[in-house]
Symmetry: C2
Subunit: 195 residues, 2 copies
DNA sequence: GTCTATAATGAGATAGAC
DNA sequence: GTCTATCTCATTATAGAC
C-alpha cells in the first residue's frame, strides 16, 4: 500500500491501531518493529509518531481498550434473577465476547510482561474487576445453596481458564458452531460448580 | 559473574540453558538478546555459540526437552483400573508436573509463535500426543457409561485449559497447599465430566 | 500529516588470537 | 573453550523540509 503525501489523520489513526493489533497478535510485541507497522499501514515509520508517543503506548492503548470494552459490554447484559441464571449469562457472554476478538484476547494476556509497571498495574486492575464479578456470582450461589463450590476463588480461576481456553482452538466454520460450543461449555461449567 | 579464560564445557552448557530458560520466561524470547544470556552465564556473547548453533535452537531445545519430559513422566505413572481412576491420576499428575516447572510451561505455550515452522510442527506433535491421552481416557469412560461428556474433544480442551490455568496463580507457600489445590480441581474435573 | 534523512543504539552471528 | 573485535543489519525515535 504505497501512499503519497497528504493529510489523513482521521483514518490513519485507526489503521495504525489495527495494524499493530494484528502484528502484535501474530508475532508478539517485542518481535514487531515500528517499521513493520508502518509498512502495513502504508506510511513511513516516522509518521506513526503522530498517533502514538511510542511503541509502549500503542500496546497499552490496545490492551486498555480491550479490557474497557469487556467491562462495559458485561455491564450491558440484562439483569438476572438467580445465581444459576447469572452464571449461565456470564459463561455465554465470556465465550462469545472472547471468540469475537481473538487478537485482542491473545495480546491481552500474552503481552502483560511487556507492559511497563505502571501500565501493567492498570490492566491488572481491570482484569481483577472482571474476575470479581464471576467470584461474586459463585459466592451468591453458594450462600443460596444452589452451588457446591469448595473455594470460590479457585473456582473462579478454573472457570475463566476453561472458558478462555476456547480461543486456543475455536474457529468459525469448524466442526461446531459457537452456539453449540456455548451449550457444551455451559453444561460443563454448571456441573463443575455442582448446580 | 565475571569469568576468566578457561575450559568449562560440562558446566557452561547447562548454565546457558538455565539462563535462557529464566530470561525467556521473564521477558519473552524476542525481547532477550544473546548478550543478556551471556551476561547471566558470565561469558561473552561469542562463547554461547559453542553450545547452540543459534538462538532459535536454544528455544527449540528448551521446549522439546520440556515436552519430552512431560510425556516420559506421564508414561511412568502406575497403571489404572478404571477411567475414573485414570482421570484422577491424569488430573493430579498434570497439576503437579506443571506447577513444578512454571518457567518451562510458560515458554512452552507463549513462544510457540517464535518457533520456525519445522520446529513448531515437532512441538505441536508432542502436545497432541499428550492431549490424546486425556481424550482416550474420556472416551473410555463414556463408552463404559461412567462419564457423561457431550463431546470428548471439547472436554479434553476444557479440562486441560482449566488445569494448566493453575500455573497463572499458584505459588508455593500461598493460601493453599498443592495437595489442597489438586483435591479441589479434581472435584471440579470429576463433576464436570458427570462422574 | 507525511516525507526523507539521520542519530544513537543494539541485535545475531563470525573470525582469529590465546 | 573463551576472549576481543568486528561485520552487517535492524531498531526506536527525532529533525526539519514540504
Amino acid at each position: 500500500m504505497a501512499r503519497t503525501t497528504g493529510s489523513h489523520s482521521d483514518i490513519t489513526g485507526p489503521r495504525v491501531r489495527a495494524a499493530a493489533l494484528s502484528l502484535f497478535a501474530q508475532h508478539g510485541f517485542a518481535a514487531v518493529s515500528m517499521r513493520q507497522i508502518a509498512r502495513e499501514v502504508g506510511v513511513q515509520a516516522g509518521a506513526l509518531y503522530n498517533y502514538t508517543p511510542d511503541k509502549q503506548s500503542l500496546l497499552f492503548d490496545l490492551m486498555q481498550t480491550h479490557m474497557s470494552d469487556l467491562l462495559s459490554s458485561r455491564d450491558k447484559l440484562p439483569e438476572t434473577a438467580s445465581p444459576l441464571e447469572a452464571l449461565e449469562t456470564f459463561t455465554r457472554f465470556h465465550i462469545r465476547f472472547h471468540s469475537e476478538r481473538p487478537e485482542e484476547v491473545f495480546i491481552a494476556y500474552m503481552e502483560l510482561r511487556n507492559l511497563e509497571p505502571e501500565n501493567f498495574e492498570a490492566i491488572e486492575k481491570l482484569r481483577r474487576t472482571y474476575e470479581d464479578q464471576l467470584e461474586n456470582i459463585l459466592r451468591a450461589g453458594v450462600s443460596e445453596g444452589v452451588f457446591k463450590v469448595a473455594d470460590p476463588k479457585l473456582a473462579t480461576m478454573a472457570v475463566i481458564a476453561m472458558l478462555t481456553g476456547v480461543n486456543t482452538w475455536f474457529r468459525e466454520g469448524g466442526r461446531l458452531s459457537l452456539e453449540e460450543v456455548e451449550q457444551i461449555y455451559w453444561d460443563m461449567v454448571r456441573k463443575s460448580v455442582g448446580a
